[in-house]
């Protein structure tokens, strides 16, 4: 098969043995980056506890965990405003939390409770938080790419400088609508950022079995869309690229694609590391990628720069875990939606 001769075109970004060093941190950024580290820890531990709820049989809705990919959501979120419009996908816990969603409302939603962010009607795959700019996530692969393009059309008609963002994976770039949307956005100069979290897998299938190249940004070149490809496990690299692209979009330069190369530590759906939709994963790969963990690299950078001590880091992590444990308790106690919601929410307009 042709893939025997397949070579990565990502200049080492797909190789977990590279890009493992601690991030280099300026002292002046210390306080701000401690806040972002905390945000990444909140995402990590919220998803870890959601995984435990799946194991315990308490969460039944399909839960697609993004553990290992936290830097992409957090890095892009730092460049966004609450008036921007962000859309997610099946794996969007991190996007929701990074933009300002609370662990309690997310966990309650995963448990199907009325206090959940979608009032218990959506579950893990249908999240919503308009007050902080998160306008919805859905699991049909690629579906929010044209929707974000339309949100960008709305922004253009509104005037002003707000942007729309679509988060999706490398699998979505195999959907025709990704290309239709890039073309439409390019032709109409729409203010949209396409963020591809290229984690090198779609469900259980390696990108080398699905595409002739692992470099997603080549599609942006075909559609005359500006793009950057970065190490998605480097918070500072993601932030810098998002800043460059979003600044351009706000100034009227038209759409852009950000490709962030990353890796998920868990399978496609559910909490297992070694099983991906029934297919055994190479644990050596998972272990290698854990050495490139975005939280580890940021923490080590903060330690190396003398911004935080090991004890302080341990205390921070304990505090985050305690907070999320409380969130789980609150969510488990919450009520289920009233049965009337089943019928009353079908239409917004009533006679």
């Amino acid at each position: 098969m042709s893939h025997r001769h397949w070579q990565s075109e990502l200049a080492g970004l797909a190789d977990p043995a590279q890009y493992t060093a601690p991030l280099v941190i300026e002292a002046a950024q210390g306080t701000r980056l401690m806040g972002l580290l905390r945000s990444m820890l909140v995402i990590r531990h919220t998803e870890d506890q959601i995984g435990q709820l799946v194991v315990a049989g308490l969460a039944r809705t399909p839960c697609h965990l993004g553990i290992g990919q936290e830097a992409v959501a957090v890095g892009v979120a730092t460049q966004l405003r609450t008036t921007d419009r962000v859309f997610g996908n099946h794996r969007s816990h991190a996007h929701f939390l990074a933009l300002g969603g609370t662990p309690t409302s997310l966990i309650a939603e995963v448990l199907g409770k009325a206090s959940g962010t979608s009032r218990g009607m959506g579950g893990s795959m249908h999240l919503f938080g308009r007050e902080f700019g998160f306008h919805g996530s859905v699991p049909i692969v690629g579906a929010t790419i044209p929707i974000a393009t339309g949100a960008a059309l709305a922004a253009k008609l509104d005037g002003g400088d707000s942007v729309a963002v679509a988060f999706f994976g490398d699998g979505a770039t195999e959907e025709g609508v990704f290309h239709e949307s890039m073309n439409l956005a390019a032709v109409h100069d729409l203010p949209v950022l396409f963020v591809c979290e290229n984690n090198l897998f779609s469900s259980h299938l390696d990108i080398e079995l699905r595409q002739p190249s692992d470099r997603i940004s080549r599609y942006a070149e075909a559609h005359r869309v500006r793009s950057l490809t970065v190490d998605g496990n480097d918070l500072l690299a993601v932030e810098a690229a998002a800043n460059a692209l979003i600044t351009g979009i706000r100034q009227g330069a038209g759409p852009a694609l950000l490709e962030a190369v990353t890796y998920r530590f868990r399978g496609h759906v559910g909490p297992n590391e070694d099983i991906d939709v029934g297919v055994h994963r190479r644990m050596a790969d998972v272990s290698a990628w854990k050495r490139r963990c975005p939280i580890k690299r940021l923490s080590e950078g903060l330690l190396a720069a003398g911004i935080v001590s090991g004890d302080e880091l341990a205390a921070l992590e304990r505090e985050v875990v305690a907070k999320i444990t409380d969130a789980v308790t609150l969510a488990r106690r919450a009520d289920y939606p009233d049965p009337s919601a089943l019928h009353d929410l079908v239409y917004a307009c009533r006679p």
């Binding site: 419009r85 859309f87 959940g116 979608s118 009032r119 218990g120 009607m121 959506g122 249908h126 919503f128 308009r130 306008h135 919805g136 859905v138 049909i140 579906a143 790419i145 044209p146 929707i147 974000a148 393009t149 339309g150 949100a151 960008a152 059309l153 709305a154 922004a155 008609l157 729309a164 025709g176 609508v177 239709e180 949307s181 073309n183 439409l184 032709v187 109409h188 939606p337 919601a341 009353d344 929410l345 079908v346 239409y347 917004a348 307009c349 009533r350 006679p351």
Partner: protein
């Protein structure tokens, strides 16, 4: 705008009435825009959108790349962000490429996000049967879409509805599939002043009163029922005609009341027979009425279960006309004479 205001007695065509709906919406509601293929073409959608781009600008009347799915999705996205877009699919067949955005997205977001998001998008699909257009340019897929909870489906038949149901669809906070039919474009009537009515209050309507039999249709089929009723009237047979207008959510109350009086139901549908719209109407009546109220078995007149042919000779066999409807009604009423 139209070059001059029509005199009070001037008749307007169905196609012109659709255009009047667009003019009203684009003039009175700044959150409305139109997007789709062929909108800058003088012929793609008949006379129903002529020169709208020149009147309202190409920023609000947007002709697009050949991307039904992305353009429909973009309309859904803009609808989620405060706009009321109208997506135009010049052939309903082409809209099939946009099914994900209509069925999985627009129809679901309000429900699955707990009522917090609305997608007030109107998807306009045009049925363009006949004319040797063949199997992929002439389908009537209303039954498919009327199956989807959360998606309102309307089929205007009258000239006034061509305009007013478009206006009501666009101003409704739910996603609406508005289906018009090129075979209605030359239907003419005096058009009353435009009125903005809530779509949720609209439903089937008696368009001709009668006592012997209830004829039910939607869109072009409803017009066939009216023409058949004229034929039957000349023979002394008194048919009631009900124009369904709104296929989803479907309220059969008007049809039930009619059939409980006439005892006879004939449903005419420009779609296919199997799992079709006519079957839904008959089932709604059959499960609600006492069988003793029916004087004959309900009957449906539909397209045969075959793709549309291209050759005109086969088209003549394929499509329904008013004569077929009148003949079926005559047969059902003849059974009455035999029985009594």
């Amino acid at each position: 705008m139209n070059s001059q205001p029509p005199a009070a007695s001037t008749e307007t065509s169905y196609g012109e009435a659709i255009r009047a709906g667009f003019v009203h919406l684009l003039s009175s509601h700044r959150e409305v825009f139109a997007i789709g293929q062929g909108l800058w073409s003088p012929w793609y959608v008949g006379n129903s959108m002529t020169d709208l781009d020149k009147l309202f600008g190409k920023a609000r009347v947007i002709d697009t790349p050949v991307s039904e799915l992305a353009c429909t999705g973009a309309a859904v996205g803009a609808a989620l962000c405060g706009y009321r877009p109208i997506v135009i699919h010049p052939r309903m067949d082409f809209m099939v490429l946009a099914a994900d955005q209509i069925i999985n997205q627009a129809a679901k977001w309000h429900h699955m996000l707990g009522g917090q998001a609305i997608a007030p998008v109107t998807i306009r699909a045009i049925i363009n049967r006949g004319g040797e257009q063949g199997a992929q340019h002439s389908q009537a897929l209303h039954a498919w879409f009327a199956h989807i909870p959360g998606l309102r489906v309307v089929m205007p038949s009258s000239v006034a509805d061509a305009r007013d149901l478009l206006v009501a669809s666009v101003l409704c906070d739910d996603p609406v599939l508005y289906i018009d039919d090129r075979w209605l474009y030359e239907r003419k009537a005096v058009l009353p002043a435009v009125s903005e009515r809530p779509l949720a209050a609209e439903g089937p309507r008696v368009v001709r009163s009668g006592t012997d039999i209830t004829l039910v249709g939607a869109g072009y089929s409803s017009w066939l029922c009216e023409q058949a009723a004229e034929i039957l009237a000349a023979e002394g047979l008194d048919a009631e005609v009900i124009d369904v207008r709104v296929l989803n959510p479907f309220d059969p109350a008007v049809i039930l009341a009619s059939v409980s009086r006439t005892g006879r139901l004939c449903v005419v549908d420009g779609g296919w027979r199997n799992a079709g719209w006519a079957g839904e109407v008959i089932a709604s009546v059959a499960e609600a009425l006492d069988p003793r109220q029916l004087k004959s078995s309900p009957r449906r007149i539909t397209l045969p279960n075959a793709p549309a042919p291209t050759s005109r000779m086969l088209e003549a066999d394929y499509y329904i006309d008013a004569g077929h409807v009148a003949a079926a009604a005559r047969t059902m009423l003849a059974a009455r004479e035999t029985a009594s």
